[in-house]
């Protein structure tokens, strides 16, 4: 029964993998998901910027999400994807190890990140979602892109 009722508190997430961990980003920010393509390195850019890619004629920055979250790097596989998200008019790609599904989660099942993880990475998270026996780490896309970081620094 409870699965059928729509509470209005639910959010839809695109679930993807980084190493063995499962992450989620709200579907409203996701523009599309692409296979890995050629990425041009941009000199003098922050280290978490993998480079730029060609998305149907426009040039798009690509973030190495693992580097951003201080996770160990891995070789790209057939499952590696680029999730293209749009935050405040900025389009950006994020490299992830695999995209697994789209799922719905009730907001009551989301815990604030500070209670679970500490350190720098906590800033990039907006919460931890509990989904049956799984834990989804919810990304704070704004922070990943560095939006509003100047505010934080001052």
């Amino acid at each position: 029964m409870s699965e059928l009722t729509y509470s209005g508190n639910e959010i839809q997430l695109v679930v993807f993998k980084l190493g063995r961990e499962e992450y989620g980003v709200t579907i409203l920010q996701v523009q599309e998901i692409k296979r890995i393509t050629e990425i041009t390195r941009v000199p003098h850019s922050p280290d978490y910027i993998k480079g730029v890619m060609n998305l149907r004629g426009s040039v798009l920055p690509v973030i190495d999400l693992k580097k951003r979250l201080n996770l160990p790097p891995e070789e790209y596989t057939d499952d590696t994807r680029i999730i293209i998200i749009k935050v405040e008019d900025i389009n950006v790609g994020m490299i992830v190890d695999a995209v697994s599904e789209v799922t719905t989660i009730d907001q009551n099942n989301i815990e604030p990140p500070q209670t679970v993880v500490g350190g720098i990475a906590a800033d990039y998270l907006s919460g931890i979602g509990k989904l049956e026996n799984r834990l989804l780490i919810l990304l704070n896309a704004d922070a990943i892109l560095g939006i509003g970081q100047e505010v934080k620094a001052s």
Partner: protein, 685 residues
């Protein structure tokens, strides 16, 4: 109604009309009696009023409404434009500009319009010096007013006859003055309803403005209708007031001036079918007005043939065309590798189409530079008044087209240059006369094509720039040493004005002289991929010459390779490419340099600057050097290989990667790969 979706359109159109107001007012200042100009001013003010009222910006509507009152008097000839009036009108336009900009920026800074409105009403009441002229002006222009103006009881002979005849039949003739509520939308519809209501009561014999004008909404909030009816004044008033959005109705019987025997007699004859015959005559009377109206219509029709398009849409169109070109190249590749003759043939045709398509899209983005120039006459006028100088601004080549992106950016540098010419260049009239020059200074703003570039020049016939003073200033400010200054050629010394923090004005004025001008101009122009230079002759004047690329979107570039990475260097900044051996590189205080035709040129290793790993440069015997110029200086860039010259479409890398050192942008190569465009200016550091 959600007005936000119309916001962009409102702002753009308002700015256009304000621009039109500015230039027309300038014309009016020179030719106060020009009715066409007045009409144009009136139309612009009227449109702004209508738009702002619809959008709910009452302050703008209120101010334009008051302006209209004055303009109307000017148009009718009851008032004659003089300096005071144009000044106030100019101030109104300025205030309107501020109001529109405050709407654009969503700020709610209160802008005071009351004093202006007070002045306008004073003018409208004739409380300004111009009153003295009023009478003579009125007589001079009665001819014009007769046909179109709406003085009460201003009936011509025919109409008078109708009225007299009607009275004989026991009918009464009233003049109905209808005021629509301020901010009434669809005024023409209301007017139509009023006319309908009146026609039910009797025969409408005249309306001011004419019915056509009413239909076109070419009227203020009030109009007058003369009606022959058996109903009495109260009935008429009630009938009109039953229509919504009517502010006020005044019904007064028409007073007929002394009727001569003759016209009374004529009236008698016509009494049987007075109205019909009158209508025929009325058509004839209205003809000139109609003609004017149809001319106006033609104009409207012409402007209706262009379409306003969001620049973003054009950008995405350009993107799509770029993508098409890339895919075409891929198809060609496939045709070649699989030896498909048919495909290759088809691709050749497609190549032509895409090339044309690209050209057309580029052309669509071009905008005449006049869009920027047309705000300068006003600025020059204000400046010359402020500085008590007489200046004649000559604009040439305003039809020269430039890419939209350049147009948007070029305004500020030009303002700087013009201000500079007027403030520092042109002397005061007395001084000019003493030098035997025309007391009226001349500033020329010239645009023209030159190959793949557009040249914009700001020339003045002022005092020129004294190289010695410039040198002295630069030394005083510690920008160069005395020894350096002594070595400088005059032409080069003059270029010192482009250095940051340089200002030659002895007194800092409001206009210029704060020392931020010229270097800002130079930086901006260089950002646009252009160059600026100056020539000057003492007491003859100076000329600032800006050279801009036709477009910022597509440039010629040299593709070079460093290790596996491909970079594009804009051809505009390349002097030449040379081959050297590693022995040719000398070091001067740890800075690598080569000697080229007697000139020492510092060397930049691209791999090092861009942190490219595993380059083959170190052990390579023969090196490729691209000689580039950065302003007046030159530098050599060492690359691994040269790929070749190519037309590239410049793409922005987005906000996230804006301001990355040494990279000006990105482009997409034929194989779909992204290549970065080098910012040559930032390399040499």
């Amino acid at each position: 109604m959600d007005i936000n979706q119309y916001m962009g359109m409102f702002l753009e159109e308002s700015r256009e009309h304000l621009q039109a107001l500015n230039s027309c007012l300038l014309d009016l200042e020179n030719d106060p009696g020009n009715l066409t100009v007045l009409d144009e001013i009136f139309r612009s003010a009227h449109t702004i009023k209508g738009m702002s009222a619809t959008m709910g910006f009452t302050t703008i509507a209120e101010l334009t409404h008051e302006m209209e009152n004055v303009l109307d008097l000017l148009r009718k000839g009851t008032l004659r434009a003089n300096d005071d009036i144009t000044d106030i009108l100019f101030k109104c336009v300025d205030t309107l500009e501020q109001l529109v900009e405050s709407v654009a920026s969503n700020s709610d800074t209160a802008i005071e319009i009351k004093p202006l409105i007070a002045k306008l009403t004073a003018i409208a009441k004739g409380e300004l010096p111009s009153v003295a002229e009023q009478h003579s002006a009125q007589t001079a222009t009665t001819q014009e007013t007769e046909a179109s103006s709406g003085e009460p009881s201003d009936l011509d002979d025919m109409e008078i006859n109708v009225v007299t005849a009607a009275r004989k039949q026991g009918l009464e003739c009233y003049e109905v003055q209808v005021s629509l509520r301020l901010g009434c939308l669809l005024k023409s519809a209301r007017a139509y309803m009023v006319m309908n209501a009146l026609e039910e009561l009797g025969e409408v014999i005249k309306s001011v403005p004419t019915v056509e004008e009413l239909e076109k909404e070419n009227f203020d909030n009030t109009f007058q209708v003369s009606i022959v009816t058996s109903a009495d004044a109260e009935n008429i008033e009630a009938a009109v007031l039953s229509i919504s959005e009517i502010e006020k109705v005044d019904v007064v019987p028409v007073i007929i001036p002394e009727i001569t025997e003759k016209s009374a007699a004529v009236a008698d004859i016509q009494a049987e079918k007075p109205i019909v015959s009158n209508l025929d005559n009325k058509v004839a009377i209205d003809k000139p007005a109609k003609q004017a109206a149809s001319e106006h219509n033609d104009k409207k029709h012409k402007s209706g043939q262009s379409v306003r398009v969001d620049i973003d849409k054009l950008d995405s169109l350009l993107n799509l065309v770029g993508e098409l070109v890339i895919n075409k190249t891929r198809l060609e590749q496939i045709g070649l590798t699989h030896r498909l003759a048919d495909l290759i043939e088809t691709m050749e045709q497609m190549d032509r189409v895409t090339t044309d398509l690209q050209a057309v899209v580029m052309k669509v983005r071009m905008v005449p530079v006049g869009q920027v120039f047309n705000r300068f006459p006003r600025m020059v006028r204000d400046l010359s008044r402020e500085l008590n100088k007489e200046i004649n601004l000559i604009i040439q080549g305003e039809e020269t087209e430039l890419d939209r992106t350049v147009i948007d950016e070029i305004g500020d540098p030009l303002v700087h240059l013009l201000r500079n010419s007027i403030d520092h260049g042109i002397e005061h009239p007395a001084e000019r006369q003493a030098k035997g020059k025309n007391p009226v200074g001349e500033v020329r703003l010239i645009a023209r094509h030159e190959g793949n570039n557009v040249i914009i020049m700001v020339e003045d016939d002022g005092k020129g720039i004294n190289a010695d003073i410039i040198k002295q200033k630069a030394v005083d400010k510690g920008m160069i040493t005395q020894a350096e200054a002594d070595k400088l050629e005059p032409a080069e010394a003059v270029r010192l004005v482009f250095l940051a923090g340089f200002s030659t004005a002895d007194t800092v004025t409001d206009v210029s002289g704060r020392g931020v001008g010229m270097d800002a101009v130079k930086t901006k122009i260089e950002e646009l991929g252009g160059m600026v230079d100056v020539e000057t002759k003492i007491d003859e004047g100076s000329r600032f010459k800006i050279r801009l690329p036709l477009t910022l979107a597509i440039i010629q570039a040299l593709l070079v390779k460093v290790s596996e990475e491909i970079y594009a260097i804009p051809l505009g900044s390349i002097d030449s490419t040379i081959n050297i051996t590693s022995q040719d590189i000398k070091t001067i205080q740890n800075q690598e340099a080569i000697l080229l035709r007697g000139q020492i040129i510092p060397i930049v290793r691209l791999a090092k600057v861009l942190n490219v790993s595993n380059t083959c440069q170190q052990n390579q015997e023969e090196l490729f050097v691209v000689i580039v110029h950065i302003g007046e200086n030159r530098a050599g860039i060492i690359v691994d290989t040269l790929i070749g010259q190519q037309e590239i479409v410049i793409k922005s890398m987005g906000k996230l990667l804006a301001g990355i050192k040494a990279i000006a942008g990105a482009t997409i190569l034929g194989n779909g790969q992204v290549a970065l465009i080098l910012d040559v200016g930032a390399l040499k550091q």
